[in-house]
Amino acid sequence: MRATEGPLRSKVLWSVVGWLVVLVFFFPVLWMWLESLKTEPQAASSPPTIFFVPTLSTFQEVLSGDFPPFFINSAIASIISTFLVLVLGLPAAYALAIRPVKRTQDFLFFFISTRFLPFAASLVPLYLLARDLQLLDNILALILIYTTINLPLGVWLLRSFLLEIPNDLFEAARVDGASFRHEILNIVVPLIAPGLAATSLICLIFSWNEFFYAVNFTSSVAATTPIFLVGFISGRGLFYAKLAAAATVSSLPVLLAGWIAQKQLIRGLTMGAVK
């Protein structure tokens, strides 16, 4: 009797502790959602409003205002740069995994070291170059930069997925005289579809949330979602509900992508080292 009661009681106890701790961390997100469903006076009341009738009017206001162009810019920059990462990264990963080139380790090391090069290293020349090429406040500049940021990660991740494909499949194809293009499109892509999806999601997360280049390289035309939020820095007027709604919509794509790709998230964040 006791033997079954003991573990159950400790399980309940630790469950309570676990839920409390996790809810502390999750609370700011929950609070953001709650604030976004309030009216402005409710959102900025003292003491804070806990019970209220939720309303979507703030979301309506945000989505019908000047927010959508920022969101669209973010989508364009993230999606196109992610596509470029896959197009450039998959052949490179192939060359480092399936039919390895000489000095594979050096190439891998080179790629990963550029991922950790601080933006301080190349900021000034890139800014001057963008200025001279009329690429400031142009979404193309962000696309190219985000491709650079994510490409090393993409190569490492895709390679880690390619290494899982049995070698026999490629040998069989080569015996049949398959071309490189055929090999990539008809064998590699279908087999590592989950890997491509995971890599895309990780790239989307990093480029969607990117702020440094966005705020310094764009101003109005090409400004992305985080830049819209800059308008909320100073704290004048009733704007908490609007801020919370904008923050919720801005965070939604990455939150959903991250939640869907939970299993792959850790792999992506550690360059494929931890599965």
């Binding site: 060359a95 890139l126 820095i233 964040l269 931890v274």
Partner: protein
């Protein structure tokens, strides 16, 4: 059972690369070249230019001010107090954020690795702070949680005598650390949890049967096993936290004064408010040296993990 894979080295090379002919070698290299050239052009050439500019005095707003100035920019770095403050702030921010989030991440990972109800849901909720757009997260903290008048936290902490604390104004660095710890704890948790899950539960059970108490099995079994994962998380985390910019921009804008100005923020101020290209480049070079030091340790750890795994 093994959750680490040998990405580098053993297991990587499938053919003997030495035996291939020259033509074949180029055929193999070809798919690699576009990505390599692209990354090389966009990262290495600008870096060389950064080093080059760091030896010049150049104010963007003053046409014709471009002139060679030798080591002046570097001498200014040594004598300028704001550089020293920024380096100190960077170290303080990085070390405290990483230390706290590793400890909290370890604790949460152990909770989520134990027998509790709703593990999957908890894990899902727990990673949310890491996924929320950093600029959005920082503003939510600043305005709706920490605001001394309308924020929730001063209201909740009121009975403790912390009701009218202006967190951002009075404790700017603490505020930045809190927000960054909130963001990075889930990251540490994910990596450490993966480590804990690779552990064989029977070992812990055997230790319990042998009479080891909870603390002993934590110190002798759990911790050594989780160690490489903790190191990996801490080092990868530092490489990101050293570059903290979003939350400082949103929470304190480097202030008050220079209290929360770290190296990236100083670089931003020098380059985009002072337009001192040479000075900003010198800061960039110093930042790279700092990063290389951390990254060397990070990569060594990464490779050690792979090698330990390859030996199994």
């Amino acid at each position: 059972m093994s959750i680490l894979r040998s990405v580098v080295g053993i297991g990587g090379a499938r053919d003997s690369a030495a035996s291939v002919s020259r033509r074949d070698a180029w055929a193999r290299r070809l798919p690699l070249l576009p990505a390599f050239i692209y990354v090389f052009l966009v990262t290495q050439i600008p870096f060389v230019l950064t080093i080059y500019y760091s030896f010049f005095s150049w104010n963007l707003l003053k046409p014709g001010s471009f002139r060679f100035s030798g080591l002046d920019n570097y001498l200014l770095l040594v004598t300028d107090e704001s550089v020293r403050i920024a380096i100190w702030n960077t170290v303080l921010l990085t070390v405290s954020v990483i230390a706290i989030s590793v400890i909290l991440g370890m604790a949460v990972a152990m909770l989520l690795n134990s027998e509790i109800f709703g593990k999957g849901i908890l894990r899902t909720l727990m990673i949310a702070p890491f996924l929320i757009m950093p600029t959005a997260g920082a503003l939510i903290w600043k305005h709706t949680l920490l605001n001394p008048l309308y924020g929730l936290l001063p209201y909740v902490l009121g009975p403790l005598g912390l009701g009218r604390v202006d967190w951002v104004g009075q404790f700017p660095m603490v505020t930045v650390v809190i927000v960054e710890v909130w963001r990075w704890t889930p990251f540490m948790m994910l990596i450490i949890l993966a480590g804990l899950q690779s552990q064989n539960p029977e070992v812990l059970e055997a230790a319990r049967v042998d009479g080891a108490n909870a603390f002993q099995s934590f110190r002798r079994i759990t911790l050594p096993l989780a160690r490489p994962f903790i190191e990996l998380g801490a080092l990868l985390g530092s490489l990101f936290v050293v570059q903290t910019y979003d939350s400082i921009y949103m929470l304190t804008y480097g202030g008050p004064g220079e209290d929360t100005t770290n190296i990236p923020f100083l670089l931003y101020k020098v380059a985009f408010q002072g337009y001192s290209i040479g000075q900003a480049s010198a800061i960039g070079v110093v930042a790279v040296i700092f990063t290389i030091i951390i990254a060397t340790f990070a990569l060594r750890t990464l490779f050690t993990i792979f090698q330990v795994e390859a030996r199994r």
